[in-house]
């Protein structure tokens, strides 16, 4: 057992996967000697060489598109998008190609590929280095979307993603990279794709969250505990396929739900969770299904006073929970 931060846990997962399986390779911008701009792939080029740690040209569509081809040939590519914000030139390849290959070929071809993307805000990254991108991808049948929030989950889920026979978008919250530390077992262990985690039990309200917001939600829940309000926090960990059972069981127990996400609220991923609860747990609800998302402006501005306005914070979450508790 070692205490690692999120970044180190991800590095370790990649390292182990590359050591274990010759088919696994990395491709992306600056993933080589630079070790990635966040240092996630630090050291790997020295260990595995330029053939398996490929500094690609600056072009996301070919990073993803070539990975699809290599996956069809039997490789297990890990494609890095330098920032999630820069995944969009590859959107067509992901949506029209990677996610549809199995379906359109009637199960003849499949694309075992992982796309890693550092996302999220609160790091002074302005409009194009702060985005949450999940809503664009969770709406793509044929693509799995994983968004772990702890080193423990990240390592296991990345290994699971690499082993998965279908394409996985693996979202890494940039603010969690060094902020979130935790024990990671030395011995092999697994976390399955598609399983949410009740990270804090409670009776009065359920908070459904993921990524950085899971941590903020726990903070808010702790604040509320001291006020006598018992909050359950569910960390989704996988966004698609969604663990509906865990979400619904939690809400059926508490009768109230707040969905917290950092992305723009309108048509964001949280809308699906709210819609699910409204449809499947209606009879258990003691209050309106609430959402707290980022503002409906194009990602967050650079200037600190503006950026701070954008993000949901433990305080804003706590305020919404108090309102909901009083309903």
């Amino acid at each position: 057992m070692a205490e690692l931060n999120l970044l180190e846990a991800i590095n370790q997962a990649i390292d182990e996967a590359m050591a274990a399986d010759e088919r696994v390779y990395i491709i992306g911008e600056d993933v080589g000697y630079r070790g990635g701009v966040f240092r996630v792939t630090d050291g790997l080029i020295n260990k595995y060489g330029e053939k398996r740690v490929i500094d690609s040209p600056l072009a996301e569509s070919i990073i993803v598109g070539s990975s699809i081809g290599a996956a069809l040939y039997g490789m297990r590519p890990i494609a890095e998008m330098q920032f999630a914000d820069f995944i969009f030139p590859a959107f067509n390849q992901i949506l029209s190609e990677a996610a549809r290959m199995r379906y359109r070929s009637n199960n003849e071809w499949n694309v075992p590929m992982v796309i890693r993307a550092p996302y999220g805000g609160g790091i002074h990254g302005a409009l194009y280095h702060s985005q949450s991108i999940e809503a664009f991808f969770t709406h793509i049948p044929g693509l799995k979307v994983v968004a772990p929030s702890t080193p423990y989950d990240a390592k296991a889920l990345l290994l699971a993603s690499i082993a998965d026979p279908d394409p996985v978008l693996f979202l890494e919250h940039k603010k969690c990279y060094r902020l979130i530390k935790g024990y990671v077992p030395d011995a092999p262990y697994t976390v399955r794709i598609g399983e949410a985690d009740v990270v804090r039990e409670g009776d009065d309200i359920s908070v459904i969250a993921y990524g950085l917001m899971r941590h903020y939600a726990v903070e808010a829940a702790e604040t509320l505990a001291s006020e006598g309000i018992s909050v359950e926090v569910v960390d989704l960990r996988t966004l698609t396929p969604l663990d509906k059972t865990t979400v619904l069981n939690s809400v059926k127990k508490t009768g109230k739900a707040l969905i917290v996400y950092e992305d723009n609220e309108f048509c964001g991923y949280g809308a699906e969770i709210a819609a699910l609860i409204a449809q499947e747990a209606f009879e258990y609800l003691d209050g309106p299904v609430q959402r707290l998302g980022g503002l409906d402006i194009p990602a967050m501005p650079y200037s600190a006073p503006l950026e701070n306005e954008f993000m949901p914070t433990p305080q804003k979450i706590a305020d919404r929970l108090r309102d909901l508790a009083a309903f």
Binding site: P57, G65, Y73, G142
Partner: protein, 324 residues
């Protein structure tokens, strides 16, 4: 062209071109009979396709085609039945089980990779296959095709660039028929030859007469050798003719003149090769009749087989989104 090229080989070329043409013509018939809602043709591209595909090792090399490549997939080993099953969207269709439109080819066992409708997306896949093969040390060649219109897509640029950087064993085969649906070449690009772009990526670009099967074959053989040697990609531009409307949904009289079509018809690659073989004494009447009869039978058989084959079971519609 080489005199020593043996007769069997030349007749096989002819047979494949004729087979592609006949199957294609049958598809249009079925379309007019209301039995096939959509057809998109190889007519005018047969020489380019058969000439190129015969330079590959079937079942060993990889092919990432586009919708016109009927001649290619037949050469790689797809059967007329399999083609007709796709046309009629039947359950057994090995391309997609009737899920994709016709002419969206795929055949796992033949190393024919599934492609989609958005133009150009297949070209990066070919590059990735080449990259994987290079990593593994396999001596395969990857061949991919697209039209001159599609060469305008960003994906094609990105793909050629990576292939050039890494010297991948990929053949970019541009079938230039002068039109992208209705858009003529002069509105598509500011140059005469798509092949001129290869120089910007560090590998050779070759223009060939796409209606001359032997010229195409030779150029592709050279590209295959180069790729297998580890010297990297080649861009081959085959100047083709489009003898039909873009597809059965199109009406090309709205945008192309009768003269243009007539000029293209004068270049019909099947007719040209037939004339050549006849004049060289390689194809006599008896052989021709035999070949045409066999093809007719195969096309009839394929049609009948596909017509009788069952449609997909609606209950399967949700299958294979993910591994099961």
């Amino acid at each position: 062209m080489k005199q020593e090229r043996d007769q069997t080989h030349l007749l096989e070329m002819y047979r494949l071109m004729r087979l592609a043409r006949s199957l294609d013509e049958r598809m249009w018939q079925l379309n007019r009979q209301g039995k096939a809602p959509f057809v998109i043709s190889c007519q005018g591209h047969e020489a380019a396709q058969v000439g190129a595909a015969l330079a590959l090792r079937a079942g060993h090399d990889w092919v990432v085609p586009y919708y016109r490549d009927l001649g290619v997939v037949l050469t790689m080993g797809m059967t007329p039945r399999e083609v007709m099953l796709a046309l009629m969207a039947k359950a057994e269709d090995p391309n997609s089980g009737g899920r994709q439109m016709p002419a969206h080819y795929s055949h796992r066992k033949l190393n024919i990779v599934s492609h989609s409708s958005p133009t150009g997306t297949q070209v990066p896949h070919a590059v990735g296959i080449g990259l994987a093969a290079q990593m593994r040390g396999d001596d395969i060649v990857v061949w991919t095709a697209y039209g001159e219109g599609t060469s305008s897509q960003g994906d094609v640029h990105e793909a050629m660039n990576l292939a050039g950087v890494m010297k991948l064993p990929v053949i970019f085969f541009c079938e230039n028929n002068g039109y992208a649906i209705s858009v003529p070449q002069r509105k598509q690009m500011g140059v005469e030859n798509v092949a001129d772009r290869a120089a910007g990526y560090g590998f050779p670009g070759v223009v060939v007469d796409g209606t001359n099967v032997l010229e195409v074959h030779e150029a592709t053989m050279a590209a295959v050798e180069r790729a297998r040697r580890g010297d990297g990609p080649t861009l081959i531009e085959a100047k083709c003719v489009r003898l039909t409307a873009h597809s059965s949904d199109d009406n090309d009289r709205t945008y192309r003149t009768a003269e243009d079509l007539k000029a293209m018809k004068a270049q019909d690659p099947v007719v040209k090769f037939e004339t050549y073989l006849t004049s060289e004494g390689i194809l006599d009447d008896a052989t021709k009749t035999k070949i045409l009869n066999e093809i007719k039978e195969a096309v009839n058989d394929a049609t009948k087989y596909a017509e009788a084959a069952p449609l997909p079971d609606p209950a399967t519609v949700k299958r294979y989104v993910f591994a099961e």
